[in-house]
């Protein structure tokens, strides 16, 4: 893989804050930094509700503008995402960055056939003829291994199974050869045999097209199959990041350790699964300091005083925890 960390990152997110207001306030993102090189695959792991989808949607400017306050900066391929006007956004979405959504129904229009939806995007972004757009749609559906692809071109979303919809969405997202792919749990509805085929396919396409990918997943196994680097989110912040191998084999942040310990792989039937006790933080008013402190076995008063900065542990390896030194002595699986 030819990842050159020295070249300007294709995705550069700095100190991103996203707050939803309205009847109640949700501080969904509280200072997220992501730098992604061309051709790099970042696996994004983390607690449900920790802000993974919001991060991806912010990057596509898909959050409801009236109720959302965004601060910080986002640059993709040198363009300032936050200052794009509607026309620039139109080219940017789907053309430069495209997204595979967690819920297929959010991305697919129920009243148009799958083939027409893909063709429409290709015609719009690539300026090709309708026939060429349809041909590209067929090629993509075959690429993601949709059985009888030619016939499925004319199928409507409700006529397809959950896994087929996911594959159709992957086809849609890749049809314009984006520079950056945002994949929000793109394989959760797929059975193991198709999942591994899709992961291998994504790996291949990603290498061929030199695409950068942010891949949100709950499945450590999937993260291992696809990522170069992983970032772990909690309470709207990235609490740990590093090379895949380092994080998986040697997790440092107490939340990451808990997350890896909760994995069900090899769990015994009838035995209760290990979980992280306590509830996720309230995002309406964040506690000062580390938002994991109330659930953390290592926390003391210092953890709740003032912002916890990321501690660099090596190139591209950061952990947001001030108990790191003690932490290292604690065996994995706390």
């Amino acid at each position: 893989m030819s990842v050159n960390p020295l070249s300007a990152p294709i995705v550069d997110i700095r100190d991103l804050h996203v707050r939803f207001s309205g009847e109640r306030t949700v501080n969904a993102l509280n200072g997220v930094d992501i730098a992604l090189a061309q051709g790099e695959v970042l696996g994004l792991l983390g607690e449900s509700g920790s802000g993974k989808s919001v991060t991806l949607k912010a990057l596509l400017r898909l959050l409801p503008p009236r109720r959302t306050t965004i601060t910080g900066s986002m640059h993709v391929a040198g363009q300032d995402v936050l200052s794009m006007d509607d026309e620039a956004l139109e080219n940017y979405r789907g053309g430069v960055v495209s997204m595979i959504f967690q819920e297929p129904m959010l991305a697919l229009d129920p009243v148009y056939s799958i083939g027409d939806q893909i063709a429409e995007g290709v015609v719009r972004h690539k300026g090709v003829s309708w026939a060429q757009g349809r041909a590209r749609a067929l090629e993509m559906l075959e690429g993601v291994r949709i059985p009888s692809a030619r016939r499925r071109l004319d199928a409507y979303p409700h006529e397809m199974s959950g896994g087929m919809l996911q594959r159709a969405m992957i086809a849609l997202a890749l049809s314009c050869s984006p520079k950056v792919l945002l994949a929000d749990e793109p394989t959760t509805a797929l059975d193991a045999t198709v999942q591994i085929q899709i992961l291998l396919l994504l790996r291949e396409l990603q290498r061929e097209m030199g695409m950068a990918v942010i891949f949100v997943t709950h499945d450590i196994g999937v993260a291992i199959e696809i990522s170069d680097r992983v970032a772990v989110m909690y309470g709207g912040r990235i609490v740990e990041t590093g090379k895949l191998r380092d994080v998986v084999k040697n997790p440092q942040h107490p939340y990451t350790r808990g997350l890896l310990a909760s994995t069900i792989h090899g769990a015994k039937r009838g035995v209760r699964l290990e979980t992280i006790p306590g509830a996720p933080p309230r995002l309406d008013r964040l506690p000062p300091g580390c938002s994991f402190a109330p659930r953390c076995g290592l926390a003391d008063a210092a953890c709740s005083q003032g912002e916890i900065l990321a501690v660099p542990l090596g190139p591209q390896r950061n952990v947001r925890c001030i108990k790191l030194a003690t932490n290292i002595a604690v065996p994995v699986g706390v």
Binding site: R145, R167, T193, V194, H218, R269, R282
Partner: protein, 359 residues
């Protein structure tokens, strides 16, 4: 009085058991559902055999896992059981009672609930979370105040603080939060059978573990029976007592979970188990264990539907459809000619009198 008793009393009288512990809660016989698909401008229309002559039963208090290739008919089977769509053929009985005209849809809802695969599409965007969960009980005549209290209780049970979530709308939630709302809603009517279609696949591992623990607790507390559909084999192994494996609308193998994991007989089941992602960062999967594309469900392969992708296929496999045959392990059956001594497949066992008797 335990919490569960309070819930039952306040809400709805539980549906009485009829046939006793020996009678399966759910029995499905010869179930088929075919969909006509339009051919558009090109090509003629065809028929997708989404579910084709499927048989299985679920004992009271049991967890039956259903796994299988995407599009093999798992969700369609689920939708048939809860009466969302009508079968073309076959019958479904609940505790001995045939589902059909005699058992109204309304009564069926009291007995069987489902958590849908698409958590977003299955929630009404105009109802708050509290209204969503309280809706079913209200329809069944529960006083609104009681239904609301019950909704809050269920929210707490699925790990969501009612004071933060009760008055939110579905679009204000994360995917995992929405899926827990779906679980809470399914339990609101205190059903006997809950069908969980990919109910935990949107959850991160620590919440998934919490929800699985919760599902097991609720099953004990409320005497529930589950049909658990999932593509995550680790989860299925953890929660199920028995598992059925489907391929292109048919059951190809069924058995106790450990028998399936240690002694899978159908080549598709073996491929499925081999396709689980590697957990070793140094040895990623390089090749998919099944090659070939999933076949066309509109015109499925003759004989054994898996023969186009099977490494052991022989002429008999495309000529004749294998039937589900006992493997010799208790309650373990597979539909593969290699299991049937009489098939003529070169890898079939030599017929033993004992096995012939079992058939």
């Amino acid at each position: 009085m335990s919490e569960a008793d309070v819930l039952r009393q306040e809400v709805l009288a539980p549906v009485a058991d009829v046939g006793g512990p020996q009678q399966p809660l759910l029995a499905v016989r010869g179930l088929s559902k075919h969909f006509a698909v339009g051919g558009g401008l090109f090509g003629r229309g065809g028929v997708v055999r989404a579910v084709d002559d499927v048989n299985f039963s679920v004992d009271k208090g049991e967890v039956l896992g259903i796994v299988g290739e995407s599009g093999c008919g798992k969700s369609t089977t689920a939708r048939l059981i809860i009466g969302l769509i009508a079968p073309d053929k076959g019958e479904i009985t609940l505790d001995g009672e045939p589902v059909g005209p005699a058992l109204t849809l309304r009564e069926l809802r009291r007995r069987v609930q489902m958590v849908f695969q698409d958590s977003y599409a299955s929630l009404n965007p105009r109802l708050t979370i509290e209204e969503t969960i309280a809706f079913g009980p209200k329809v069944h005549g529960i006083a609104p105040a009681v239904a609301r209290a019950r909704a809050h209780e269920l929210l707490r049970k699925v790990g969501l603080d009612p004071s933060l979530f009760a008055d939110r709308y579905p679009h204000e939630l994360s995917g995992g939060q929405r899926q827990r709302i779906n679980i809470a809603r399914a339990l609101a009517l205190a059903p006997r059978l809950v069908i969980l279609d990919e109910a935990v696949s949107a959850l991160d591992k620590s919440v998934e573990a919490q929800v699985l623990n919760l599902l097991l607790d609720l099953k004990e507390e409320l005497g529930l029976t589950y049909v658990f559909i999932s593509h995550d084999l680790n989860v299925v192994r953890f929660i199920s007592d028995r598992v059925i494996v489907m391929y292109l609308g048919e059951v190809v193998e069924s058995g106790p979970v450990e028998a399936l994991w240690t002694d899978a007989r159908h080549p598709y089941t073996r491929a499925l188990l081999a396709a689980m992602p590697s957990l070793d960062a140094d040895h990623r999967t390089q090749e998919a264990p099944i090659s070939g594309d999933p076949p066309n469900p509109i015109d499925p392969p003759s004989g054994c539907r898996f023969h186009t992708r099977c490494a052991f296929a022989e002429p008999v496999c495309s000529a004749e459809a294998p039937r589900l045959m006992p493997t010799g392990n208790e309650r373990h059956a597979a539909a593969c000619h290699m299991v049937d001594p009489a098939s003529g497949h070169s890898r079939a066992p030599v017929a033993s009198p004992e096995i012939q008797h079992a058939i």
